[in-house]
């Protein structure tokens, strides 16, 4: 096999001028499934919704879809950055919810200062996750399952199991939800800007390249003196930060926060959005801009399910099947690779 397909093509490629070969490689990468699938899936689902219920394609529909997509997008962006290093963060939705509660507790007194301080604290929580992972070398999935439990308790205890309403400075937060540009709320725009920023980070900076290298081949990265611990800590810190922004989006939308209220079910949609956005679950592949489409698709799934005549009760079922199908379609398979 390797004999026949390998030799002639390779020789030819070597003979070609470097530029042409490079362009070809780039072209192949551009049209690769991972890159075009997320927008394709999104437009397919948009088409389904549009045919079944054209009202959803108007300004009103756009505002509904992007509002519900905003927290999913922010959580998914952090998740994509962590998945890119080959780990997973199961605690990010809990960070978002815990964040929403402390936002709601502190914003009435301290306003913008509180927002910044809370975001810093949540980023640090993420960084602690990453540091434990990097220095104790435990599986990230079990580690973050543990921190998920601790954060759930933290959310219950800080809120006293009650709904915290933002009394003072309410307009300061809800403005993020009520101010709309092109009928899309600011919370979603924050997600879009974060996506562009993370994309640039991965493409153009050494820190970003290091993270991708660790995800693609950690042993190789370590042997090439890539600071793998630093890369993991930064990826988890980013996840904490993005989850913090998601918490802010939750408070902006609801004007309140509680341990069981809006945003208490973000974990699975967040992972789904990252995966639908073309992020590889085994690491080394993430495109934050495509995650935007992933989040929109995931937010559209319940709407599409309803438009197609499935009741709201079928939502879990549709979600479950959707995740399996999407990952089965987009996961990369190498012959002989061990899948756990």
């Amino acid at each position: 096999m390797t004999y026949r397909s390998g030799t002639p093509a390779n020789v030819e490629a070597l003979d070609r001028p470097d530029k042409v070969a490079a362009t070809l490689v780039r072209l192949r990468r551009m049209v690769s499934w991972h890159v075009i699938a997320p927008p394709l899936v999104f437009f397919a689902i948009l088409l389904v919704v549009g045919i079944a219920n054209p009202a959803y394609l108007g300004p009103f529909g756009i505002s509904i879809a992007t509002t519900s997509a905003a927290p999913i997008l922010l959580v998914a962006l952090g998740q994509a950055m962590v998945l890119n290093t080959g780990s997973i963060d199961l605690s990010n939705a809990a960070i978002a919810l815990f964040g929403a509660i402390i936002f709601a507790l502190t914003i009435p007194d301290a306003g913008i200062v509180a927002m910044i301080a809370v975001l810093i604290v949540l980023t640090l929580i993420g960084a602690v996750n990453g540091a434990i992972l990097a220095y104790t070398q435990v599986p990230s999935f079990a580690l973050t399952l543990g921190t998920l439990g601790i954060l759930q308790t933290a959310a219950l205890v800080t809120s006293g199991s009650e709904t915290i309403y933002v009394s003072e400075n309410r307009d300061l937060v809800t403005a993020l939800h009520t101010i709309k540009v092109l009928s899309v709320p600011l919370t979603f725009w924050i997600g879009v800007f974060a996506a562009i920023f993370f994309w640039a980070l991965l493409r153009f900076t050494i820190i970003g390249q290091n993270m991708t290298a660790v995800g693609k081949n950690e042993s190789g990265a370590i042997l090439s003196a890539v600071p793998n611990k630093q890369a993991k800590i930064i990826a988890f810190a980013i996840s904490g930060f993005a989850s913090g922004l998601a918490g802010l989006a939750i408070v902006a939308q609801a004007g309140s926060a509680s341990a069981s209220g809006l945003g208490s079910n973000l974990l699975l949609p967040g992972i789904a959005a990252a995966l639908v956005g073309g992020t590889s679950i085994s690491g080394g592949q993430a495109n934050p801009i495509n995650v935007v489409f992933g989040a929109l698709t995931v937010a559209f799934v319940p709407i599409a399910a309803q438009a197609l005549g499935f009741g709201a009760q079928a939502q879990s079922l549709v979600y479950g099947i959707f995740i399996i199908v999407i990952v089965a379609l987009t996961t990369s398979r190498t012959r002989g690779a061990v899948i756990k």
Binding site: A142, L317, G320, I324, K340
Partner: protein
Amino acid sequence: MTSVMHEDGPRGAAGMKRNGSASMRRLFAEGAKGPIGLLAALVVLIVVFSFLNPRFASIENLQNVLFQVSVPLILVVGATLVIQMGSIDLSIEGIMGAAGMTWILLSPNTRTMIDLGLWAWLIALVLGMSLGLMTGVIYAKLKVPSFVVSLGTWYVGLGIAILLYGNNSLPSLTSEALARWPTGLTLGLPHAFWLAALVLLFGLLISNYTNLGRGLMAIGNNEPIARMSGMPVNVYKIGAFAIAGLLGGLAGILATMQLGSGSTDIGFGQLFVVIPAAVIGGTALGGGEGGMIRSALGVVLLIILNNGLVLAGVDPDYQSGVFGLILLFAIIAVAWPERGRLKVAK
């Protein structure tokens, strides 16, 4: 074990004596890592909690603990098989919901006028097993990571439960005999626990005395070698998930019986008991290690901890936090000696 025998073989009597004590020491060290450490932790917990609240050490509380242990004990048998081969099954809560709801709607209940008797059990168990089978096939054949597939199956199972529940009234068990069965005592122990003990025995037999059980351990240790030695790796993988699904279904039925009514969230929180329990018991998440008895001890430890904390007056809000902390310390303790500059941790 076999390697020890090999070393002993060709040597004289004197050598055997020396080696014998060495292997004894090794055996002890091996044991101390697993069950002995766990048992010590259990004893410490029991002593501490008995001091905090005298009611903890009562017979009624022992029966209560065993009653609570039974559902996670059934689940941990399937979870251990799956974790031993290096995969993970997150779907148990969803499968419990689907099977439990199916069972109660086909048994004497306040909503449907159907009573299929034993067939209700069979249908619910088959549903659980099919969900597990689906997970296994997609994982083994389509090569989708088990983590994602079982996450999907979790929601598929939950979705089935929600659809069955519909908008109608809560289905409650009308048969007194069925509702009382789990709490009924035989030889002083609740029936629910006897059922779980039977499942544990079944799990022990599978994992120690069948090709499947041995094969799963081999896959967890080194999958490429297992494959190259001609093991039907895919069949074993699918088998493990099918058993986990079947036991998930059984746990769902038992939990529904214990509650006395159907609920889509019947399995809520079980994942948080079962996976930490397996890990505390020394079943490494990387696969190839651990055993049924150890996982079972892990479950008992966590349930006693929970029960003791409640009796000691700790707010239930703290439960997931305490479990989370324990999971954290357990995995760090397991992974600590194996750290290395070149180790890949995902």
